[in-house]
Amino acid sequence: MSKQILILKDKCKGCNLCVKACSFGAISVVEKIAVIDAAKCSYCGACEPACKFKAIEIKVDDIDRSSFSAYKGLWVYGENRDGVLAEVVYELVGEGRKLADKLKVELSVVIIGDKTQNLADDLFSYGVDNVYYIENKLLKDYDTNSYTKILEEAIEAHKPEIVLFGATSEGRSVAPRLAARVKTGLTADCTALDITADGDLAQTRPAFGGNIMATILCRTRPQLSTVRPHVMQKAAKLAKKGKKIELKSTIVEKDVVTKVLEFIKETRENVNLTESDIIIGAGRGVGSEENLKLIHQLAEKLGGVVGASRACVDAGWIDHFHQVGQTGKTVHPKIYIACGISGAIQHLAGMSSSDIIIAINKDADAPIFNVADLGIVGDVFTIIPALLKSL
């Protein structure tokens, strides 16, 4: 994409309005003229309307669409383990159906594994038109190289215009590998998708810890995205028949380059911080490992799991596995109850997309209240024991 941003020096008054409008800190005013730092500029266009003197011009070359017509249809990557599809696949099918209908194209799921044949009928009942599958005992465990090879061959043969992956441990491994192999664009961890007037996939994702949102477009085909789990609505059941298509692949043993020696399923307590519907978050305000027991009790009562701020983990009160935030996990439960968490930007980055946030904190000015649906200004040690009694 060739883009150019110009400051018209005769019009620029050095008023600083564009500097304030820029989320990337790419503009500075030097000797009363705005100067763009090309290394920081993302050409997002936020400065253009902010300028009252029409001194900023962004020139965008039209995308070369000549090769796009060869690509048709929307695919969902059918992540599975032991013959069971990951939950996120049903969410992607739900969203994929809407997008495919907008584009008036077919929705397909591509399934790679050792027990895949029987998954097709289930998917058809969720409105999927085609299921591409490959069943091979070499493919029992996820291996980046062989899985990428199969996807690359499938894309080459069937040419989808869009492929959606869950932003899971597996999706975020295979999707970037595939994108680099077929030399196309990939947008990570999307939380909203749409189709533009030009028929492009508009991929919206949080940036800078969710403080700004960016909509990303791709000028090559296929367009690839990983999509954050629990954000899209699960597909509805439809009485529908689809087509099963076996993928031809030249996969042989030497294509499988990593070997899974063991799979360790975590016990309930640790697992699924990212999958849980209810998370009770503990922050510095909880005060000690001893006090954390209250949080564990509350989690148990409500059928949730315990998350923690970095302060809690650094203090050694709880394992890093529980950490929510920028250097921990990104979670999106239906309910997040923040106990004694002030709401540092790093923590908010990991949990602000929760459906409902309830916050309990002594400090009425704590930033956590800015994202809370229900905020209680009060003492965690009064409120939680009372809450436990009434449950």
Binding site: T144, R177, I212, M213, V271, I358, I360, D379, S390
Partner: protein, 262 residues
């Protein structure tokens, strides 16, 4: 064992504040740091080197200011650093960045056995460059590593985190891994290391040096582009109450009932 660690310079979010009026980030005067996950990548590289011998080379792409992060890496005890910088790299997305770093490693550290990345950069959160570089070099990748269980000159066994647990995976070397924060505790620089870092000459590499295809770097080599940036809408129905005589508990209970949790 020749180890390459790829790092990124990012704004220090500890110092980023949110403007309460506009709800946007105040970025001015924010210092730059080594991406936190990449610190653990450097640490893991140093630990493996201490066990098996060899070298640790840190590679970073970015503007010339990245030099300060590379000096920090030197002060921790890495052997060599490479700064990949050129105006032609500006505007690179993850695909173009992967190509650029891959090219650099291919040319300057072609005998490397292991490449370590942090899980993701905290300013972009994409986690895409590690797999992208591994693909360019055609080597196996294992992401989200929480422990290196075993490493010999021929192979590596790692524990990687999944949604529902862990997986122990083995791969031949050379290979690439991306690491989580919990993998280790980062060391502090030694005085000797700091002295050495201060006087070291930083190797600078440009697009010409790595013989980059100009269509695959920078903005030109980037298929994705930002079409719009906006501030997420603020939550509409915020209810903040002061806890008095159990009013807080009552409010939580009624909310949980409304949500059908209890």
């Amino acid at each position: 064992m020749n180890i390459v660690v790829c790092i990124k310079q990012v704004p220090d979010t500890n110092d980023v504040k949110i403007d309460p009026q506009t709800n946007t980030l105040i970025r001015s005067g924010v210092p730059s740091i080594i991406n936190p996950f990449d610190e653990n990548a450097i640490e893991e590289g140093l630990r493996i080197k201490e066990k098996l011998g060899g070298t640790v080379t840190v590679v970073s792409m970015g503007p010339p200011q990245v030099e300060s992060c590379l000096r920090d890496a030197l002060s921790l005890g890495v052997d060599d650093v490479i700064l990949v910088t050129d105006r032609a790299f500006a505007g690179a997305d993850t695909l173009a960045t992967s190509y650029t770093l891959g090219k650099t490693i291919e040319k300057y550290v072609s005998n490397c056995d292991l490449i370590i990345f942090g899980k993701q950069a905290i300013d972009g959160d994409t986690a895409q460059v590690g797999p992208g570089v591994a693909e360019y070099l055609g080597i196996p990748q294992m992401i989200y590593v929480t422990k290196v269980e075993e490493i010999t000159p021929e192979k590596i066994v790692v524990k990687r985190e999944l949604e529902e647990g862990y997986e122990i995976v083995e791969s031949k070397l050379p290979a690439a891994i991306t690491v989580l924060k919990g993998i280790n505790t980062v060391r502090f620089p030694s005085l000797k290391g700091k002295m050495k870092a201060k006087s070291a000459t930083i190797k600078i590499v440009t697009a010409k040096d790595i013989e980059a295809d100009e269509n695959r770097i920078g903005l030109k080599g980037s298929p994705t582009w930002v079409s719009k940036i906006f501030t997420p809408p603020v939550k509409g129905n915020r209810q903040i109450i002061k806890d008095e005589d159990g009013s807080g508990v009552k409010a939580i209970i009624s909310k949980l009932k409304e949500l059908q949790v209890i």
